[in-house]
């Protein structure tokens, strides 16, 4: 900054030595007051001494400026004024532009402008157009405070193992959402705010994970963990007076390590299997129960009628059943008892015979 000012002063000297020298005009009275150093306590006094120095030597620069002036004056530049003042006016315009640009700041919605005067914090500008002293005196640092930033920790591709409370390992990845609550604290309190957030997040997450079991961390306690980590982080960051507001933690993934993932899938499969066993048993129970009910009810109905006329009902049922049974079977009636004829079995059974039923029916008589 100092060298910049110095360089500017030298530039001014070189520029003005040509036109001012031969005409012997000295400095413009109003011009030094408007210069950028007129306002600063540091540079103001140097300015006139620099500008008054006019060299006597005529160079090609003079020629150039003179030609430039000749081109400009008929164009209605500044009639009536001494022609040497064009450069002065140009400088004044640049200075004026500089003043306007560096003292007016448009702060967008969601932004804040932290104003420092010679390095010391003075105030914070809200959204809108803010006016400050020009640049070397007051500087504005714009910060986006509403925008919620995301800091990701751990990733789906890499393993980031943490120890849980039951001394198991979990592969976890999560992101921290945060924004700036107090811009001046954010700017001036922490040397590396982003790095701090990462470290605090990791530390808090590990502290919380180390207090819960693996199943809790993978399962329904996730929301609880997120809240605890976020509170923990906020407390630590507040103790640093960091000006950071934690909006929330999102656990994107909490899985067992790859090395044991298969075993965890086995557990899920076992749960499915167990449920299958139970479902089958329930289906069986339902079926059996309905069948028993149905048969019992049928028996009860028949029994009711049977009680009214036991003998008749019994005979009727017997004949009806035998009718149906004997209708559909091959029947052989053997008259002479005691004489068992030779039965050619394949003939008796036209289709593929099965000896078992025949033997049974033979025995059943």
């Amino acid at each position: 900054m100092f060298s910049g000012l110095g360089g500017r002063a030298r530039g001014l000297f070189n520029d003005t030595k040509g036109p001012w020298g031969p005409k012997g005009e000295g400095g413009e009275p109003e011009e030094p007051a408007r210069g950028p150093w007129g306002d600063t306590p540091k540079g103001g006094r140097r300015k006139p001494s620099a500008s008054r120095q006019g060299g006597g030597n005529v160079s090609s620069l003079d020629e150039f400026i003179r030609r430039g002036r000749a081109r400009w004056s008929p164009g209605g530049g500044l009639p009536g004024r001494p022609s040497g003042s064009i450069v002065t006016w140009a400088i004044a315009a640049v200075v004026l532009l500089w003043l306007v640009i560096t003292s007016m700041h448009s702060i967008e919605p969601g932004q804040r402008g932290v104003v420092t005067r010679f390095g010391r914090y003075v105030y914070t500008l809200g959204p809108g157009v803010g006016l400050t002293l020009p640049s070397p005196v007051e500087r504005v640092t714009k910060l986006d405070v509403e925008n919620i930033r995301n800091t990701d920790l751990g990733s789906a591709s890499s393993e980031d193992l943490m120890l849980t409370g039951d001394q198991n390992l979990i592969d976890i990845s999560y992101s921290v959402r945060w924004n700036i609550r107090t811009p001046e604290l954010y700017l001036f309190q922490l040397a590396q705010p982003d790095e701090t957030i990462r470290e605090v997040a990791e530390s808090s997450m590990r502290a919380v994970i180390s207090q819960v079991s693996l199943n809790d961390a993978m399962g329904d306690k996730r929301a609880d963990i997120e809240i605890r980590v976020s509170e923990n982080m906020q407390r630590i960051l507040d103790s640093y007076r960091s000006g950071i507001q934690i909006q929330g933690i999102a656990i994107k993934q909490a899985d067992p390590p790859d090395a044991v993932n298969d075993a965890f899938k086995q557990v899920t499969a076992a749960q499915q299997d167990a449920q299958t066993y139970i479902n089958n048993a329930n289906a069986y129970a339902l079926q059996l129960g309905q069948k028993a009910q149905g048969e019992a009810t049928a028996f009860d109905k028949v029994y009711e009628q049977y009680k009214l006329a036991p003998e008749v009902t019994r005979r009727r049922m017997y004949y009806e059943t035998m009718e149906r049974v004997l209708q559909n079977v091959n029947k052989t009636i053997i008259e002479a008892p005691g004489v068992v004829p030779y039965l050619p079995l394949p003939e008796v059974k036209p289709s593929q015979p099965q000896p078992q039923p025949q033997a049974q029916s033979g025995a059943g008589q």
Partner: protein, 287 residues
Amino acid sequence: MTDFIRRHPLASGIAAFILLVVFLTSFPIVPETKQAVVVRFGKPVRILNEYEAGRPIGGAGAGISWRIPFAEQVVWIDKRIQDVDMQQQQVLSTDQRRLEVDAFARYRIVNPLLMYVRARTEEQLAEQLRPILGSEVRNELGKVSFASLLTPERQGVMEDVRDSLNRIAGQYGVKIIDVRIKRTDLPDGTPLQSAFERMRTAREQEARSIRAEGAKQAQIIRAQADADAARTYAASFGKDPQFYDFYRAMQSYESTFLGDGSERPAPTTVILSPQNDYLREFTGKSR
């Protein structure tokens, strides 16, 4: 003087520039984030913007200051909270288990003069703090068991580390704000593999017990269903066992010879004797 300037514009320009630079550097601007020690010929004489606990931002301190050109040098020292990372190292707990521990400390230089005298630069300060942090963490964690490293108790351990670190760091004009364990990992190799193995067997055990539990419940459900059905049958059929016998026999004949509707039974040949009860009237002699 003016004549000299007219005659030697270049020389006087350079001179003016040098003067300007010297003038400007005599008024250093102290930002909020820095504090500074002004050193006159190697001897610290003043401190600019020294940290004071509780002073709000924008209070006295930062801003424009002054120094004697050439005689005094300004040494800038960061005023913000900085951090120093410990290299990851193995810690042996009381129960002889190894852990890879990674910790960080946050500190602020509260006495820039002391820091300047003892450590000269911030880099050297960090270099000196790092091994101290490492050894303090190792010492304190070596006093507790593996299990308690994973419990809330470790926060207390960290406070011990911070306090003992603070005693040493105070000599450098540094205040340790907190010390935290970032990671506690099982070392690669055997401890990690055996942890995996333990997790795997635990899961296998869980899977087996879940299956067994399911099978047990299924069996109970089936048995209960059988019992319920038996009770239902008994309640109904028990009213007349003889009729049940007949009734059930009729049903049985029917389903044996005619099938239950879903599939046809094998064709059957029945050989009847005329003495059969069904053919009683066949002979015409029963009356």
